[in-house]
Amino acid sequence: MILDLTDVTVSFTTGPPLRRTRLDAMRGVSLSVAEGETLGLVGESGSGKTTTSRVALGLQRPTSGTVRFDGRPFPRRRKDLAGRMQAVLQHPHWSLNPRMRIGQSVGEPLAVLGKAAGELVPEALEQVGLEAGFAGRYPHELSGGQRQRVSIARALITRPSFIVFDEAVSALDVSVQVQILNLLKDLQAEYGFAALFISHDLGAVRYVADRIAVMRGGEVVETADAATFYSAPEHPYSRQLLESL
């Protein structure tokens, strides 16, 4: 398994002092993602999907429970994992630094590793269907779909074994969504990375996921093979979600 969450709980305390309330964004969540597999994570807004991804990426320490990446707990130094996991995040408008040229953004994960980008940046852009000339542009000169392609190029450039997509296509037009989802499948077939694909849109998830996990109120209520899930969901909440599709 590339990723293993066992009985993970994340609690936040919020509110003003003296009137603090505790909120479990994740409660006893166990999930795993195998090498090369795509796990689709669905659930309504506030169900804890992003929190789960932050835990999976080592950005959020669980209140209790264990996380293993590639069989080991997260190293103390983030740098030790550099290049092995990447993410494509929600908002196309904020997914790229407006002050950096596309080429710099795409090459950044290599720069972090101290590697020369060289030919890799134009190559990465071509892989996601963009001309090499995009490297010299700034994000505001790109459409939302193009920006998400750039984010994907950026995520792929270190050939990571695990990529998180958190609502990566949700802000895009449906036709553009389909293009990006197709691109993802092609790239995954070629490079074999494992993925955690988060969305509140069951249709998009169906397109790419091998397995589906359903979250509600911080808990995983059902995990199933995609085929099984879409034909015979077990949990009443899953059925409810599918019906509204």
Binding site: L57, L59, R78, K79, L81, A82, G83, M85, Q86, A87, V88, L89, Q90, H91, P92, H93, W94, S95, L96, N97, P98, R99, M100, S105, E108, P109, A111, V112, L113, H140, G144, S151, R154, A155, T158, V164, A171
Partner: protein, 281 residues
């Protein structure tokens, strides 16, 4: 929150801000002119004492018979130089502390913000007098006062901007890629709060000019014979009834400087930060 549609903003400054910029540049030119005595020798006695403006002394003469024109020119230079030096220090410190507090949060943030609030709670002129009392009156006291007066608001606003930037996906993505603190702060946060720093730096410059004016007026800042706008207004005050031009010349220039800088600041703000932020004044 779907703000994919970018707030439309023009690349150019509006005419009013351009006028402000022009006026400011003119004052800088005037200050530079004083270096080559373009308006005459500020120390030379050119005529009778306390003369109203006229040929030979276009802004009048002072109580020693010196022409006010070169003295005001020198004063503008001193005031602008001290204020800009102080604002550069403020900008550097505010950028450092504000970005660190905004991005790291936690105890560091608490500590920095407590200090900032403490400074903020002193009225500007009290703070300036305290500094002068500790450092002794002079240029250093003026610069230090301006820094201490302008640093709280600028640090707060830079911090607020950094907090907003820190939540953006590109910062998270960089952190996930393993980027270290120097790269995240230097490549991602700083360039994206630079607009705030520029805008607030402009406002801070006008505050700096008024603090220098006030402090030197009270006798705690720049010391005669060196001229600054504050020094000139102080000296003119003595003869306010007999020779009001002594105070009008430097006074008008002071107001002009502050106004043009604020107008420029508003223009830069609209250009860099489409949302409303408050000016220092």
């Amino acid at each position: 929150m779907n703000r994919t549609a970018r707030v439309k903003r023009s690349r150019r400054l509006d005419p009013l801000s351009l006028a402000g910029l022009g006026c400011l540049l003119l004052l800088v030119l005037v200050a530079l002119g004083s270096l080559v005595h373009a308006g005459g020798d500020p120390d030379a006695i050119v005529g009778p004492r306390l003369r109203p403006p006229g040929p030979g002394w276009w802004l009048g003469t002072d109580n020693l018979g010196r022409s006010m024109l070169p003295r005001v020119m020198e004063g503008v230079g001193t005031t602008l130089l001290l204020s800009s030096a102080a604002v550069l220090v403020t900008a550097a410190l505010s950028a450092g502390f504000g970005i660190l507090a905004g991005y790291r949060g936690g105890y560091l943030n608490e500590l920095i913000m407590r200090v900032v609030e403490l400074l903020y709670s002193f009225p500007a002129i009290v703070l300036a007098i305290l500094v002068a009392a500790v450092a002794g009156p002079g240029q250093l006291a003026a610069v230090a006062s301006i820094v201490l007066v302008t640093i709280p608001l600028m640090t707060r606003l830079v911090r607020a901007a950094a907090v907003a930037v820190a939540e953006r996906d590109y910062v998270t993505a960089a952190a996930i890629s393993g980027a270290g603190l120097p790269r995240i702060l230097g490549r991602h946060v700083l360039p994206n709060v630079a607009g705030t720093i520029a805008v607030q730096g402009t406002y801070a410059l006008s505050v700096g000019i008024s603090v220098e004016g006030g402090l030197s007026f009270l006798g705690f800042g720049v010391q005669p014979p060196q001229a600054s706008l504050g020094v000139l207004i102080r000296q003119g005050g003595t003869y306010m009834m007999a020779a009001p031009w002594l105070i009008i010349g430097p006074g008008v220039v002071l107001v002009l400087a502050i106004l043009s800088i604020n107008v420029l600041g508003d223009g830069l703000r609209d250009r860099f930060e489409p949302r409303e932020t408050r000016s220092l004044i």
